[in-house]
């Protein structure tokens, strides 16, 4: 068994309304000094040891991320 994390973030040049909403809200709530916010997704997967890195990348690219507008990274956590 392994624990895998896939992080999916909007591509840098793509508009991120979610991150923007947070960035705009912070000063209103009295938090200064946060200059940029981007919001993406984090997936935590439990996978059998039989699942190789290539498969994980395919899962991320095909299902978890929309590669037209998002980038992703896959990493195994140490048990």
């Amino acid at each position: 068994m392994a624990r895998v994390v896939v992080d999916v973030m909007p591509k840098p040049e793509i508009l991120d309304p979610q991150g923007q909403a947070v960035a705009k809200a912070l000063p209103r709530l009295g938090f200064q000094g946060v200059t940029e916010v981007r919001q993406g997704k984090r997936f935590e997967l439990e996978v059998d040891d039989s699942v190789d890195d290539e498969t994980l990348t395919k899962i991320a690219a095909d299902l978890l991320a929309n590669t037209v507008i998002e980038d992703f990274t896959v990493r195994r956590l140490d048990a």
Binding site: P12, E13, I14, L15, P17, A21, N66, V68, I69
Partner: protein, 599 residues
């Protein structure tokens, strides 16, 4: 970075320019050189290429669309306050109310990225309605996909429906109807046509023009980013290495991401600006971004315009003037405001937390001059960009296969047991099954004025809460009929939408359309197009209601195969009291008599 200024262009007449990559033909590029008396700058080339594209210039359809104007009589025009050529058509519906409506395609973007493509399609048509001075009141969507069980349909359809819903729901516009059609010709070319309807008091009608020397040009709404830059990136790639953060970045995805919240706030902000009476002219930023907004405003105005492009608030670093002019960032508007009203304008924007920036002013030079840190990067006669683009008289030829298509086939009379099976098969077919999977994802209640929506034949909304005055709308088309006979097929689409509106109790008064066809370079497609336009226009004369606007989408084709000719027709009807609407459905009471009208 070096910027290609007008002066630089004059000094370097021989510089090779990537006009072909930008979609311009040799003779079109030559014409630009003649108009300017020199080679265009990068920024000018970006502007001309996008404004002279099929999508913006209607270069292949113009000669045919003029038939609408020719056939519209004074009688038909009597209720029309604005027609073809404006952002959207406007009709007088009585009691001092004006209604504006239009349908537009977002086909290709929805294939590339279904959710965002469909979402920004809704966003774009809503801004068109807003630019007329109206409050948007409802949306509809007319959708076409490949076979329901094809893998690509499974990718595209859920995204499109979620996108239409996601954007419209968040904007607070009820979805009051539409279509979902499946046919194999749409597999690589789904159609996403979105309609918006809005209303205003007659005296609040706004037209897009920049007039009054000294008036200020204000850009407001979202910041400008690298959205939809696509082809324009070729302009810089020669000169710069592929560093992602500066100009010369690699080819960017031409995908725009919508932000419906920003648009909702923009709507409320615009309506407040209209109420305050401080807007001289207004234009939405659509497909061709600032290129379109500045050249169209200037072209429709009475003088020229000067724009300081470096004032445009940006979202990305190192954008070039060409990129800024071509950016398709969503949720932006451009207004013309008297200098004495600028403060008041800015205050309203601040109340709604909308970014607003004065980017230029109306001049009396008759030219559109755009500067970048005090250097002139664009200096053009605005009409040559916006209204005097190329016009093509493309070859038209009736396809040879048309005769065989129309061969009558002898069909055997079905037996009773055949009919039983047939009815079951039809009821279970993808084209006739329930649409609730789609419509259940759309808010039909918001605003509290929806009187009819799914599963009714037309959507109906109340406009005046006191009197109950309202409008009904239906969008329809059967591409298979249009393939058999585009002239009659377009008339059938018109007749169907007309009937759907009439049976709800409303009186049809106006027509909009979205003409989705294959490549205009195919004479057979051009023939379908010409026939459909004539059929629709002649049908309108017969019914006595005018076409007030529309949209043309060409190049819907995969390889040599075009989509079915799909002239989607929207009909608007007026009802003086929505309480007298006629709901769809039979069997509400026992003992009802069923009558069949017509033959």
């Amino acid at each position: 970075m070096t910027i290609d200024t007008v002066k630089h262009a004059e000094d370097t007449p021989e510089t090779a320019q990537p006009y072909r990559e930008l979609g311009l033909k040799d003779d079109e590029y030559q014409r630009i050189r003649e108009i300017l008396g020199r080679r265009p700058t990068d920024a000018e080339l970006a502007m001309y290429s996008v404004m002279w594209s099929e999508h913006c210039s209607y270069k292949s359809s113009k000669v045919h669309l003029s038939y609408f104007g020719k056939t519209t009589t004074e009688q038909m025009r009597s209720k029309m306050l604005a027609g073809i050529g404006e952002n959207a058509g406007v009709v007088d519906i009585g009691d001092g109310w004006a209604v504006t409506f239009k349908v537009e395609s977002h086909n290709h973007p929805s294939y590339v990225e279904p959710y965002q493509g469909a979402a920004t399609g809704v966003g774009g048509i809503v801004r068109d309605i807003m630019a007329m001075g109206a409050r948007p009141l409802a949306v509809m969507d007319s959708l076409r996909f490949g076979p329901a069980d094809a893998p690509d349909t499974r990718r595209v359809l859920p995204g499109v429906v979620a996108g239409v819903g996601g954007y419209g729901n968040c904007l607070g516009l009820p979805n009051i109807g539409g279509e979902v059609v499946f046919d194999s010709t749409y597999l690589g070319n789904p159609l996403v046509n979105a309609l918006c309807v809005g209303a205003m008091r007659v005296e609040d009608l706004h037209l897009a023009h920049a007039s009054g020397t000294g008036n200020k040009i204000i850009l407001f709404g979202a910041r400008t980013g690298l959205d939809g830059i696509g082809g324009v990136s070729v302009l810089a790639s020669d000169t710069f290495s592929g560093d992602e953060t500066t100009a010369g970045r690699k080819k960017l995805p031409s995908v725009q991401v919508g932000d419906p919240f920003t648009e909702k706030v923009l709507i409320e902000c615009c309506l407040e600006l209209f109420r305050e009476g401080i807007v001289v002219g207004i234009q939405d930023l659509g497909g061709a971004g600032l290129s379109c907004a500045t050249s169209e405003l200037a072209s429709a105005g009475d003088g020229g315009m000067h724009v300081n492009l470096d004032r445009v608030p940006l979202r990305a670093k190192g954008m070039t003037p060409a990129e800024i002019l071509s950016s398709e960032s969503q949720e932006r508007m451009c207004a013309v405001v008297k200098p004495s009203d600028v403060d008041a304008f800015m205050q309203v924007c601040a109340k709604w937390d909308v970014t607003a920036t004065e980017i230029g002013e109306v001049t009396e030079t008759g030219r559109l001059v755009i500067t970048w840190h005090d250097e002139v990067v664009v200096d053009v006669p605005p009409r040559t960009v916006a209204h005097e683009g190329p016009v093509y008289n493309r070859p038209v030829a009736r396809p040879a296969e048309q005769d065989s298509l129309q061969q009558p086939i002898e069909l055997p009379r079905p037996s009773t047991s055949d009919l039983h099976d047939l009815v079951l098969r039809m009821a279970g077919s993808h084209n006739l099954s329930s649409r609730s999977w789609v419509t259940d994802q759309y808010d039909r209640y918001v605003r509290g004025g929806t009187v009819l929506s799914q599963p009714s034949d037309s959507g109906m909304i109340r406009i005046d809460e006191e009197s109950g005055r309202g409008v009904a709308l239906s969008v329809d088309c059967n591409g298979r009929y249009c393939k058999l006979d585009p002239y009659t097929g377009a008339q059938l689409a018109l007749a169907e939408a007309y009937r759907n509106v009439a049976v709800s109790g409303a009186t049809p008064v106006a027509v909009t359309n979205c003409l989705n066809f294959g490549s205009p370079e195919d004479p057979g497609v051009m023939w379908q197009f010409e026939q459909a336009v004539r059929g629709l226009a002649d049908g309108c004369v017969e019914l006595g209601i005018p076409v007030t606007g529309g949209n043309v989408s060409f190049y819907n084709q995969t390889g040599a195969t075009a989509i079915l000719p799909t002239p989607v027709v929207g009909v608007l009807g007026v009802i003086d009291d929505v309480r007298r609407r006629i709901p769809t459905g039979i069997g509400a009471e026992a003992g009802e008599t069923l009558l069949l009208l017509g033959n």
